[in-house]
């Protein structure tokens, strides 16, 4: 088991090193940094001096190593477009994305599990069928269209909810939170639904099929034979055994929630890192793109690793 864990950790580090290499290559080869940093009036001496001071004369892998060391220390370069350190910009924007992702994940999990149980228990009921059909349509709708649709209905036609932005935020330490003001909470509703809807349907379908599977198991029939109440059987006996795969899938989906936040953030002009990334692509702001790539890789690889290790912890059969 120790060797399995070590192997997984090594794999993760390798993936991060490769991603780091891609990010570094972007820095180094997409657009000439010297060209970008020096103005029109430059001499050969200026170029040489800057090359020297940036370390561009060193061998490739030495440069790569320097880049990694600096990245780990939190120095991610300077944004071409804003002229400020990238790490600073990201630190400013990250709370918005993380809050949105957390609320969406919670929404997806709660409603996914509730609807999943409901559709499994009332298998052929009208409401259950309606929910299943709606979920099918929901999955086929692209995320951005769901966002636009919600904006049209709830912001334009009904004017119940704001159509863009985070509302009022409160600074708590270095973290700007929208959880503490009413307008902040209201502003979270539409983006969270947009972002969480796909994951919700996924969890719902998973819970439903797992529940249906478990309900056929012998121990459930035995519980029925014992004359236990339906409610006890469903929630005490069946649900418990469906939750392990649900937790792993939700964990893995957390990564894609953060990635798909790019789309939601653009639709709702939500000032998070996703919107930052899209703007960086539009204006070819390479340092920001590279930094976002590394940030999101660390999250993805970290989440995958934790989920895998949790799996080993939960399932004794894997411990050999």
């Amino acid at each position: 088991m120790v060797s399995y864990i070590l192997k997984r950790i090594l794999q993760s580090v390798l993936v991060l090193l490769i991603v780091g290499l891609v990010a570094f290559a972007m820095f180094r080869f997409v657009g000439d940094p010297v060209d970008t940093m020096l103005g029109q009036e430059r001499t050969m001496q200026d170029i040489e001096r800057l090359r020297e001071s940036l370390g561009l004369n060193k061998p490739f892998f030495v440069q790569y190593w320097d880049f990694l060391v600096r990245a780990v220390q939190g120095d991610l370069g300077i944004s071409y477009r804003q002229g400020r350190p990238v790490a600073e910009i990201i630190a400013e924007r990250l709370p918005a994305t993380l809050e949105l992702a957390a609320v969406s994940g919670l929404f997806a999990m709660v409603f996914g599990i509730v609807f999943g149980i409901f559709t499994a228990i009332r298998r052929d009921g009208f409401a259950a069928n309606a929910i299943m059909t709606l979920s099918l349509i929901g999955v086929s709708l692209p995320t951005f269209l769901i966002g636009v649709l919600l904006i049209y209905v709830f912001a334009v036609e009904l004017s119940w909810l704001p159509s863009f932005g985070r509302g009022d935020v409160v600074q708590v330490g270095g973290w700007s939170t929208g959880f503490l003001t009413q307008s902040g909470l209201v502003a979270l509703i539409l983006p969270s639904i947009t972002l969480g809807l796909y994951q919700m349907t996924l969890i719902m379908r998973l819970v439903r099929s797992e529940m249906l599977e478990v309900m056929r198991a012998d121990y459930i029939r035995f519980a029925r034979a014992r004359g236990l109440k339906n409610r006890t059987i469903h929630f005490r006996h069946a649900l418990k055994n469906t939750l392990v795969p649900v937790i792993t899938v939700t964990g893995l989906q957390l990564g894609s929630i953060i990635a798909f936040a790019i789309i939601t953030e653009t639709v709702f002009q939500w000032p998070g890192v996703g919107l930052l990334f899209i703007n960086a692509i539009q204006f070819v702001d390479i340092p920001v793109m590279a930094a976002y790539l590394m940030l999101i890789s660390v999250m993805f690889v970290g989440i995958n690793l934790i989920v895998d290790l949790l799996y080993v912890a939960i399932d004794p059969r894997l411990r050999t």
Partner: protein
């Protein structure tokens, strides 16, 4: 003599068509209303995209035929200044929405098909090599696939788009945008093909016909191409269809976010992006009709893919 061989060939062709008509897949196609309906929709959309210049009542990209006074004409109503009327209304510049949709559909479909073709060629080639050759080659290919699979395809596509945009000189960026888009979506989507083809190749490799081919001295290349490839094609077809729906949506998403087709060559996604700006002022049709077209297209291709998967895999039913 030539006459005779011609009739033989014609006879053969006829029997082939008859065989195709009688095959399980064709049978299930005729019996499935979903497949019939969705393929009709797809066919209709593809045809109207191909013949867009003939069908479109206006040329939306020729400034000479545009009249700014026609801007914001609601669908089916006469414009209050010029008296012109348009089936699906006009946008802010007086462009006929129906025509822009036809031309947009063209770009969306072109990018979708081209991206899937690229992904298919890359994925099938690497999958065949990984499955047949094995060893270190296989490990490397499948590791790369695993790493890429860690990230959602749309994110990979955005990143490739960003890098490619950085490499192209600024004056060519708009011209190249469509090709960059195809490259980005194609490269983000090859993994599925590679995985499935590798799996199928591993199964086929140990079969007797492959051993026989090897025994008579056919080269590895010929065995992969002529013997194994035809036998692993049916899952590839299913993935290609589902990938097409995903690629069309990916293209629309990227263009909607402003990192795809440029406004000079708008795809459906770009049109929706443009239309979103007018949603607040009540010009709903500029967004609604392109969105509806996109949905009809993506949904029908998706349903077709689902049906194909069931039809080619009778065990799943």
């Amino acid at each position: 003599m030539t006459d005779n061989s011609n009739t033989v060939q014609a006879e053969r062709a006829r029997s082939r068509i008859a065989m195709a008509w009688d095959s399980d897949v064709a049978h299930s196609f005729r019996r499935s209303p979903v497949a019939l309906l969705s393929s009709t929709v797809v066919l209709l959309l593809v045809l109207s995209a191909i013949f867009a210049p003939l069908i479109a009542p206006h040329d939306p990209f020729n400034p000479a035929t545009l009249n700014l006074m026609n801007g914001f004409t609601p669908p089916g109503e006469a414009n209050m200044f010029t008296g012109d009327s348009f089936l699906l209304g006009t946008d802010d510049q007086g462009r006929d929405v129906f025509s822009t949709i036809l031309y947009g559909l063209r770009i969306s479909l072109f990018v979708g098909f081209a991206a899937v073709a690229l992904a298919l060629v890359i994925g099938v080639t690497l999958g065949l090599i990984a499955g047949y050759v094995g060893g270190l080659t296989e490990t490397i290919i499948m590791r790369v696939a695993d790493v890429q699979l860690t990230f959602p395809a749309i994110l990979v596509a955005m990143l490739i788009f960003g890098i490619a945009k950085g490499i192209t000189p600024p004056e060519y960026r708009d011209q190249m945008a469509i090709w960059v888009l195809i490259l980005a979506i194609g490269l983000s989507d090859w993994v599925q093909f590679a995985r499935v083809v590798r799996g199928a190749t591993l199964v086929e490799r140990s079969k007797e016909y492959v051993q026989a081919a090897r025994l008579i001295g056919r080269s590895s290349f010929a065995i992969m191409l002529r013997h194994i490839l035809p036998n692993v094609l049916s899952p590839v077809l299913v993935i290609a269809t589902i990938s097409l729906a995903l690629a069309i949506i990916a293209e629309a998403t990227l263009s909607f976010l402003g990192v795809g087709a440029p406004p000079t060559e708008p795809s459906l996604g770009t049109l929706i992006r443009i239309g979103q700006g007018f949603l607040f002022s009540g010009e709903w049709w500029i967004l609604f009709f392109p969105a509806l077209t996109l949905l009809a297209l993506a949904l029908s291709v998706n349903l077709l893919g689902d049906w194909l998967r069931d039809a080619l895999n009778p065990r799943l039913r």
